[in-house]
Each structure stands twice: as structure tokens, then as C-alpha cells.
């Protein structure tokens, strides 16, 4: 080994230096740091894992595993991680990874739905999803019961995010143009919308759930009237044409309007989910509510053509009820045809106030007394033509002082009220009378007499013509006379000038007389002594 060393050229000697040796290199800090950082990232990752939930959808259209987000108020609260079919292949199960701390959301009444672009009449929503693709909306429930398996809604709910306001129920026999999202107007301001609608179990009408935003929900009280504000409400009345609309939007897509009649007493706001009737028109909605209708029967011995159920019953022009039913009845024995008409009368509209329903007995006696008194004063029902155009007939109560006396039999059900023949009937009868009289007139004789008289008249006229020509001569001379008279009184006539001079003379004479009279007054002695010498 020493030989080998000598074979290489001499190399310099390194400078000796004391070196401390550490058994473990400091460099091990690096993997420790890496491990700590990596571990921390891993832990934070694991911690950021929220709960996993299952949502059942009817279809996964627009959903994408790993992409589709679950959003609440625009905040991402989860992501769909897996989409697969249910075992019966009828529906789709989406497994979603929620963000941490979403456990309180996932309760029994939490609802999920797919937000896709929706363009309906009332609104355009979810346009953002045109670009971003569908996402899943969530409405957090109020329940405390935790839940992990959900069934998504078919259609997104209209009101989300716990908007303040209240829901109300409207009963309507016919949905009309209503749909979810149809606006609700209050004094033409859009204050809510239709949330949902449900056909009654018996198929007899709809229950429409509407949402009225706060603070407008406070204007809904138990007396509030709702009506369909769809389209244009045109009315031709004595005041001319009136067009009622809510807004352009409601013309296009319909709407619901409500208004609360002004009353002295302010009613408390209606509670949530209070039921109301939905009327067709505002006028209908504001008809005083017939809350305790009374049924009566009227027997007419005339044609009831044009009288239909729903036709108004008026008392001296004020609507007090409506026709409920029109039937025909033939008495076989007498072969007499009658038309019993059932009507509903609203005692309230007759001026009987329902103060307290518990005082039902008093109310009933009051009603009987009133009707008895009305009948004894000659109030009778009569059929009248409401519209000459349509021939619609209505029932009118009016006072007929000459009508035969009648009483009301209260034991009958329904109570029968006395009637008198309709106007048309009466008119027809009197016209018939007139015609009969005309028929009885001796028209032939009258004609003969008339012809004779006319002949006489002819003669008289010939004589009159002669008289007229002489009268013309007289008139010509009268005209000459009048011309002369005109000349006499003309402004430049000699007579007038003479008259003027004369009048001046007279005036002067009058002045002299006045001077004389004055003088005499002061010097009465001059009458005896004569005028004294000149002025002193």
C-alpha cells in the first residue's frame, strides 16, 4: 500500500481542523416537518368530510356525479358523488357528500329538488343553471329528527329559504289559469304567489296554497276577499265602460288579488293556513257574504223563460239573494201548470244584522216579523226582465199596494212567499185590453163622417181663397199708410223740428214764470205796489 502511494505525485496536506460529529443529522427535521404537514392536511381533509346522504330522484337528468352541487341560498353544502339506479330500476339514487357541519340541516322535513332552468309565465328562474348545469336545491326543515335518506321533490317549491310571510288556503271550484308561481296582488302590488294547489279528494274543487310575503300578510284578516284577477274584467254599466286589470303580468298569466273591506273595527290578522273562498271577480268577492241564507219558494203561474239558477233576487233594486232552483210542476187534477222557484234570501241584506249567532231564536222571530210586515204592506215577488238583449229574467220584490192581501205560512217548508204576475204579463194583458177596445170602435162610420167633413172643408177653403185676395189689397194700402207714418216720425222731418222749436219756447216761458214766482215770493208787496226801483 505504501508503494502505491509513492507512485502518485505528491499531494498537499489538508489543513487539520477539529470537527464535532453528531450521530444523527439535523436533516431529519425535514421528513418530520413533511410528516407533520402531511398529517395535518390529512386530518383537516378528514374533518372536512360531512355526512353522506342518499336522495331519491325520479330522474337523474342534468345531474352529474362529482359535479352536481347541493346549494342552499347559493352556498354549496354538498356534492353528488355517485348516481345509480334503485334496485327496481324505477328511480335514481344519488349519494351526496355534504360539507361539514351540515348535520343540523339533515332533518326529517328537509326537502331537496333539482334546480333546472324554468321559464314559466310568471317567472324565469334558474337561468344560471343553463351554464352551470343543474344543481340541487335544499330547503331546511324545522324538525329535529335527523335523517339521511331523502326523496326529492318533483317540482321546486315556490317559496324557499324561510322567507317571512304566511301561507293561506283558497278554495276554488276551478283552477282557472292559476299555476304555481302565479302572482298574488294587493292593491296591484305583487305581494306573494301561488305555492301549490291540490285537487280535493272528492274532485270537487281545488285547494290553492298561496304565500303572502311579510309585511303584507298582516293585511289578510278573516274578512279579506280573494278573487281571480286573471285577464281583463270589462264591465259595461250605466257609468260607461270600465276595465279592471291588475297588471300586465296578470293579463298574460292571471293572478289572485285580495283586498280587505274597510270596516270600523280592525280585525286581527288571519292566522297562517286560514281558508278563504276564491271568487271569480272582484264584484263577486265584495258581494256581502250570504252566510245564513234562507230558502223560500215562489210559485209563478207564468212562463219562467229566462230565469236561471243564480239569477239575482232584488228588493227594490238591491240584491238580497239569488235563485237556487227553477222547476216545473203540473197539477194533474186541475191540469194547471205552475213553476215553483226556490230562492235563497240573505237576511243580512234585508237589514237583519247577525249580531250574535247564539241569539238564533231571536233572529228567527225577528226575521218572521219583518217578512210578515213586508207582506202585509204589499210586498210581492215578481218576475222582471233584466236584460232585453238576453231575455234574462230576475225576481224582484217590490211594494204593490193594490195587490190582494196575502199571508205567509211559516209552517211550510220551504216557506212560500206571495207573488204577483210579472210586468211583462201585466203589460201583455193591458195591451190586449186596448186592442179589444180598438176592435170595438165603429171605424166605418167614423170614416164616412170624416169623408163628408173633408168635402165641406174643401168648399170652405175655396171661399177662403177669395177672402184672402181682398185681404192682400187691404194689406198693400196699410203698407202705404205705414210708410207715411214713418216719414212723419223720421229724424229730419219738419214736424219734428217745429216741435223742437216749440218746446224751446215753452221752456223759456217756464223759466220766466219761475223768475216771476221767485220775485213774488221775496217781494209779495210788488203785487200791490209794483216793481221797486233797481237793485239796492
Amino acid at each position: 500500500m505504501a508503494d502505491e502511494r509513492t507512485s502518485v505525485p505528491p499531494v498537499p496536506e489538508s489543513r487539520a481542523v477539529a470537527r464535532r460529529k453528531t450521530p444523527i443529522s439535523v436533516v431529519w427535521v425535514i421528513p418530520i416537518i413533511a410528516a407533520v404537514v402531511g398529517g395535518w392536511v390529512a386530518i383537516s381533509r378528514i374533518e372536512s368530510e360531512g355526512p353522506k346522504i342518499h336522495i331519491v330522484f325520479a330522474s337523474a337528468e342534468g345531474l352529474e356525479a362529482g359535479k352536481t352541487k347541493i346549494e342552499y341560498k347559493g352556498v354549496e353544502v354538498g356534492t353528488i358523488t355517485t348516481i345509480r339506479l334503485t334496485e327496481d330500476h324505477q328511480r335514481v339514487i344519488a349519494i351526496a357528500q355534504m360539507t361539514p357541519k351540515t348535520e343540523p340541516f339533515l332533518v326529517d322535513d328537509t326537502e331537496f329538488w333539482v334546480v333546472r332552468p324554468r321559464i314559466s309565465g310568471a317567472n324565469v328562474s334558474g337561468l344560471g343553471t343553463l351554464i352551470s348545469g343543474a344543481y340541487i336545491g335544499v330547503e331546511i326543515g324545522a324538525s329535529k329528527e335527523p335523517k339521511r335518506d331523502f326523496v326529492a321533490l318533483e317540482t321546486p317549491p315556490v317559496i324557499t329559504g324561510g322567507a317571512p310571510g304566511r301561507f293561506f288556503l283558497l278554495r276554488t271550484p276551478d283552477l282557472g289559469s292559476l299555476d304555481t308561481g302565479t302572482p298574488v296582488f294587493f292593491r296591484r302590488l305583487q305581494v306573494g304567489q301561488v305555492a301549490s294547489y291540490l285537487l280535493n279528494k272528492n274532485g270537487q274543487g281545488f285547494e290553492v296554497k298561496i304565500f303572502v310575503r311579510a309585511p303584507y300578510d298582516q293585511y289578510v284578516n278573516p274578512d279579506t276577499r280573494f278573487w281571480q284577477a286573471s285577464g281583463i274584467d270589462m264591465q259595461l254599466s250605466a257609468n260607461g265602460l270600465s276595465v279592471q286589470t291588475q297588471s300586465l303580468l296578470s293579463i298574460l298569466i292571471g293572478g289572485i288579488a285580495f283586498e280587505t273591506p274597510a270596516t270600523e273595527t280592525v280585525l286581527p290578522a288571519a292566522g297562517a293556513n286560514t281558508s278563504f273562498d276564491l271568487f271569480d271577480t272582484r264584484a263577486q268577492a265584495f258581494q256581502p257574504a250570504s252566510r245564513h241564507p234562507q230558502t223560500y219558494e215562489l210559485i209563478f203561474n207564468e212562463s219562467v223563460r229566462g230565469l236561471a239558477p243564480g239569477a239575482p233576487v232584488e228588493f227594490r233594486g238591491i240584491p238580497v239573494g239569488e235563485v237556487a232552483d227553477v222547476r216545473a210542476q203540473i197539477d194533474v187534477k186541475t191540469a194547471e201548470f205552475t213553476a215553483p222557484v226556490t230562492i235563497h234570501l240573505d237576511p243580512q241584506r234585508l237589514g237583519i244584522k247577525v249580531v250574535d249567532t247564539s241569539a238564533g231564536v231571536n233572529l228567527e222571530t225577528m226575521r218572521r216579523k219583518l217578512i210578515d210586515s213586508l207582506i202585509s204592506h204589499g210586498v210581492r215577488a215578481q218576475l222582471r226582465t233584466g236584460s232585453l238583449l238576453t231575455g234574462a229574467v230576475y225576481v224582484a220584490f217590490d211594494v204593490f199596494p193594490d195587490s190582494p192581501p196575502a199571508t205567509v205560512d211559516w209552517s211550510r217548508k220551504p216557506v212560500r212567499l206571495p207573488t204577483i204576475p210579472g210586468q211583462l204579463e201585466a203589460t201583455e194583458a193591458s195591451i190586449e185590453n186596448v186592442i179589444k177596445k180598438i176592435n170595438q170602435m165603429p171605424l166605418q162610420r167614423i170614416g164616412d163622417n170624416l169623408a163628408k167633413s173633408l168635402g165641406d172643408l174643401d168648399l170652405t177653403l175655396v171661399t177662403a181663397r177669395g177672402t184672402l185676395s181682398s185681404a192682400q189689397g187691404t194689406l198693400v194700402s196699410a203698407q202705404g199708410t205705414l210708410t207715411n207714418a214713418g216719414n212723419l216720425t223720421g229724424p229730419n222731418s219738419a214736424q219734428l223740428q217745429q216741435l223742437d222749436a216749440t218746446l224751446q219756447e215753452v221752456s223759456r216761458a217756464a223759466r220766466s214764470v219761475r223768475v216771476l214766482a221767485d220775485y213774488l215770493e221775496r217781494h209779495p208787496e210788488s203785487l200791490i205796489r209794483g216793481k221797486q226801483g233797481g237793485p239796492k
Binding site: M1, E4, R5, V8, V11, P12, E13, S14, R15, A16, V17, R19, I24, S25, V27, W28, I30, P31, I33, A34, A35, V37, G38, V41, A42, R45, K67, K69, I131, S132, G133
Partner: protein, 214 residues
């Protein structure tokens, strides 16, 4: 490479890492300092195996989050989307874009893992005093050392993209946490390669030769 050639260490010679001056320590003393440039001298890089192991383990630890965490967060009008390296590969894989996808796959996934595995193999073989495939192992080391400087391509691409695509609010690209770990992997493997002393590969062979030959 000539098997069994005498090494400088065996002859008591050491070369300076900085100026390349060959010297021998003072008799009976330790390596000392370079007489020309005063650099600390050593027959072999001090604690080479330990340091390499440390960097390699750190790199291996960082390699996991680098692949699990998103490296790029793309925010478009359609929403934010985070992609890991592997997701990016899948995303780029298309009939026309597959070469690009392949580049990302090779540069970002295969090379770092190959580097870590290669270094691990070198370290273990050196520690076990393996005498086989010295030439192969040295070639492997050179390859790892050469490739190291190109591994940052991915990081560069990401940071350039993030800096250039800032079309707020239409679109923006932000580096994700995975990128940090990826960069750490690249840096740590380079450090590991740097701290590895390739002379260790044939030390075992030489000492064996010496023993046998002696």
C-alpha cells in the same frame, strides 16, 4: 467501469468538492479543510446515507398529498372545479389530446415515483453492501440526477396558468394545495440526489477487492 480499482479513499486521498484539489489529511488526523479554498473536506459526503434517507422519506410523505390534493382550482361561471394531477390526466385524455395527457402522466406521476423508488433502491443496496450491478446503479443515479431538474415543469406550467388566467369574474385559475406538495416532492428528491454520494456504490466492491486481494 473497471472493477476493483483502488479508490482514492483507500489511498488516503480526498478531493475538494469545490475546487477539485486533491489532498491528503495530515497523518493521524481527520480530513480537515482544503488547503486552497478552505472547503471542508471529506472522503465521502458526510452522513450521505442518513441525509438522503431523510430527504427521500420527506419526499415520499409529500408525494401522497401531492397526488390526493387538487393542484389546480379552475373557477368558471359554471362553478369552481378542483382537479388533482390524476384527474387532470384523465381530463386531458382524449383522442387528440392524449400526447399531452401522456406528458403529464410521465412528468408528474411516473418520474417522481420512479425517482423515489430508484433512490430507495440505491440507498438500500449501498447499505447492504451490494457489489452487483455497480455500473447499472451508477447509470440509474445519473439518470435520476439528470431528470431532477426537469421535474419542475409541472409546477411551472401550473404557476404560469394561475398567473395568466385571471379573467375575473369569468374565469380564474388558482393553484391548489397539492401543488405545494408536488413542488416539495421535486425539491426534496433533488436534495436527496444531491446528498447521495455515488462513490458509495463501489466502496463495497473496492473494500471487498481489497479484502480478497489483501
Amino acid at each position: 467501469m473497471a472493477q476493483g480499482a483502488a479508490t482514492a479513499m483507500q489511498q488516503g486521498l480526498q478531493s475538494c468538492e469545490v475546487c477539485g484539489l486533491l489532498s491528503h489529511p495530515a497523518p493521524g488526523l481527520e480530513e480537515g479543510r482544503c488547503p486552497r479554498c478552505d472547503e471542508e473536506l471529506a472522503y465521502r459526503k458526510p452522513a450521505s446515507l442518513q441525509r438522503t434517507w431523510a430527504f427521500l422519506i420527506a419526499a415520499a410523505i409529500c408525494y401522497i398529498p401531492a397526488n390526493v390534493l387538487p393542484v389546480l382550482t379552475t373557477t368558471t361561471a359554471a362553478g369552481a372545479e378542483s382537479d388533482t394531477i390524476l384527474q387532470g390526466v384523465v381530463l386531458l385524455w382524449s383522442p387528440t389530446g392524449w400526447p399531452l395527457s401522456l406528458i403529464v402522466l410521465v412528468a408528474s406521476i411516473m418520474i417522481p415515483s420512479a425517482k423515489i423508488l430508484s433512490l430507495g433502491y440505491l440507498l438500500i443496496s449501498v447499505q447492504r453492501g451490494s457489489v452487483r450491478n455497480n455500473g447499472q446503479r451508477l447509470r440509474l443515479y445519473r439518470m435520476v440526477e439528470f431528470i431532477g431538474r426537469w421535474s419542475m415543469v409541472d409546477v411551472f406550467v401550473d404557476t404560469f396558468t394561475a398567473a395568466l388566467i385571471q379573467l375575473q369574474p369569468l374565469m380564474s385559475v388558482e393553484p391548489g394545495p397539492g401543488l405545494f406538495f408536488f413542488a416539495a416532492v421535486v425539491v426534496l428528491t433533488m436534495l436527496a440526489v444531491e446528498s447521495f454520494d455515488p462513490r458509495l456504490i463501489w466502496d463495497a466492491t473496492s473494500s471487498q477487492e481489497v479484502r480478497h486481494g489483501g
